[in-house]
């Protein structure tokens, strides 16, 4: 069968790497639709023909569960995101963390806490570091973490909170970033559900099994995600 997967943008690349392995293993095909989790949520509420939803957070899957749109018991955390502070030009100012704390930057980029789960994590981190109030008003806020990454990548922001997965994917020199320790923010739980109206529930369940399996775990780790089990 062909499985229609709605995935949060930040995970779509990783998913594309998992897909061939899954297809080879099961013979099922994946058709990937990427968008922000908020859009996907709205679409699903209005009848979007997806089988699976891989959100960038836990809130939206929970909301869908409360609305009874998911296959009961299907919700689980398929990956845990890692936040990183990226400062592409360390040669001049030293480490990213120092530059943040010493205000050695022109413009900080973060995800918008309202719309991007990585934004929430960035906010919590800044609050813990006691920098939030000083920086919040000037920060450029990306709609999602992809946009936040572009702010930094294009040089318009010289420092920013992005996803570790992006940095790895873009093959950024680790000297340029600081992976934020897990204790600085609530874990970024990326949860998925199978939709109740899916006509391919069997195949969808096989996909969820596959993503929990060792082959996928390998890819997830390489891509910069943690696993739920590892967190505990």
């Amino acid at each position: 069968a062909t499985l229609s997967v709605a995935t949060a943008s930040n995970f779509s690349d990783t998913l594309k790497r998992i897909a061939p392995a899954f297809e080879k293993a099961t013979g099922h095909h994946l058709r990937i639709s990427a968008a922000s989790s908020g859009k996907l949520y709205a679409q699903i509420r209005h009848g979007a023909p997806y089988d699976l939803f891989l959100s960038a957070d836990a809130a939206r899957p929970i909301a869908l569960e409360q609305e009874g749109l998911n296959l009961p018991g299907s919700r689980f955390t398929y990956a845990v995101g890692q936040l990183a502070l990226w400062a592409p030009d360390p040669a001049n100012h030293g480490l990213a963390q120092k530059r943040l704390e010493n205000h050695q930057f022109r413009r900080l980029a973060i995800g918008n806490p309202k719309t991007a789960p990585y934004g929430i994590a960035a906010m919590e981190t800044l609050k813990q570091l006691g920098l939030w109030d000083a920086l919040v008003n000037d920060a450029a806020r990306g709609e999602n973490i992809g946009q936040t990454f572009q702010f930094v990548a294009t040089g318009n922001a010289d420092i920013g909170f992005v996803a570790l997965s992006q940095l790895i994917q873009a093959k950024i020199d680790p000297a340029q970033y600081w992976v934020i320790p897990a204790q600085h923010h609530q874990p970024i739980l990326q949860q998925g559900i199978i939709l109740k109206r899916s006509a391919n529930k069997k195949a969808a369940e096989r996909f969820f099994d596959f993503i929990k399996g060792p082959a996928a775990e390998q890819i997830l780790r390489e891509s910069g995600y943690l696993l739920e089990a590892a967190k505990e």
């Binding site: 229609s4 709605a6 943008s9 779509s12 690349d13 058709r31 990937i32 639709s33 990427a34 968008a35 859009k39 709205a42 679409q43 209005h46 009848g47 979007a48 023909p49 997806y50 999602n144 992809g146 946009q147 990454f149 572009q150 990548a153 992006q166 994917q169 873009a170």
Partner: protein
């Protein structure tokens, strides 16, 4: 290089832009004519309503369209009552959304072009046995050619670049509702800048050629001829 998804996105995009432009003209031309000639009270109201979707951010407009297109919604309900299947997340739904969103760019230039036509020229045509419909095709449309070109190019280009509405009500389904603009967006989002540049350059080049040819042809219009 271009993946198969990109190719199918290209195909969906071209189909969407062409069908939408065609529909926009089919709906927009009579509408603009009515707006240009009517003395009705509700004319201004209709003019305003047509321009209104513009002020909403496309994704938000898409959001409301999604609601309207859903089986319990205004348009979707009607559609289903007529025996149609769901509209959201289908190509048909995309067409509806694009047409609505690009309508003002088509109607307003046409309306201006129609309004500028001297009534006496139409009277001359009437005394020369041209029925109103015949006159419309043989006199009004040729005289409104610059407006028609502007309407078509703005409509076409806007549909090509259209994105927010399409993403929302189309759902980014490859081969069905994933258009080139979304594909490029995806590439940018997923840091595949190389591919994004490639696709953007292709789209720009293609559009440049089309627009250039169209404007070039329009340059030979009688209005640009030496007058006295």
């Amino acid at each position: 290089m271009m993946g198969p998804d990109d190719l199918s996105a290209l195909w969906v995009t071209l189909r969407l832009a062409m069908i939408s432009t065609l529909l926009l003209l089919m709906v927009g031309i009579p509408l603009a004519w009515w707006l240009a000639r009517s003395k009705s009270r509700i004319r201004t109201l209709v003019e305003t309503l047509i321009a209104l979707p513009l002020v909403l951010p496309p994704t938000v407009l898409g959001f409301y369209l999604l609601i309207a297109l859903s089986p319990s919604g205004f348009i979707g309900g009607f559609w289903q009552a007529m025996g149609g299947k769901g509209l959201a997340f289908t190509f048909t739904g995309l067409v509806i959304g694009s047409v609505l969103y690009s309508m003002p760019f088509v109607v307003q230039p046409l309306q201006n072009a129609f309004a500028a036509i001297d009534r006496r020229t139409l009277e001359a045509a009437a005394t020369l046995r041209a029925s109103p419909l015949n006159c419309f095709f043989t006199v009004v449309l040729p005289l409104a050619r610059p407006g028609l070109i502007t309407a078509s190019t703005l409509g076409f280009a806007h549909t090509l670049g259209e994105f927010g509405v399409v993403l929302m009500i189309g759902g980014n389904i490859p081969g069905e509702t994933q258009v080139l603009s979304i594909a490029i967006y995806d590439h940018v989002e997923s840091l595949a800048y190389g591919q994004a540049h490639l696709l953007s350059a292709g789209l720009l080049l293609f559009s440049f050629l089309i627009l250039y040819l169209v404007y070039r042809m329009n340059g030979t219009h009688f209005l640009h001829r030496e007058q006295r």
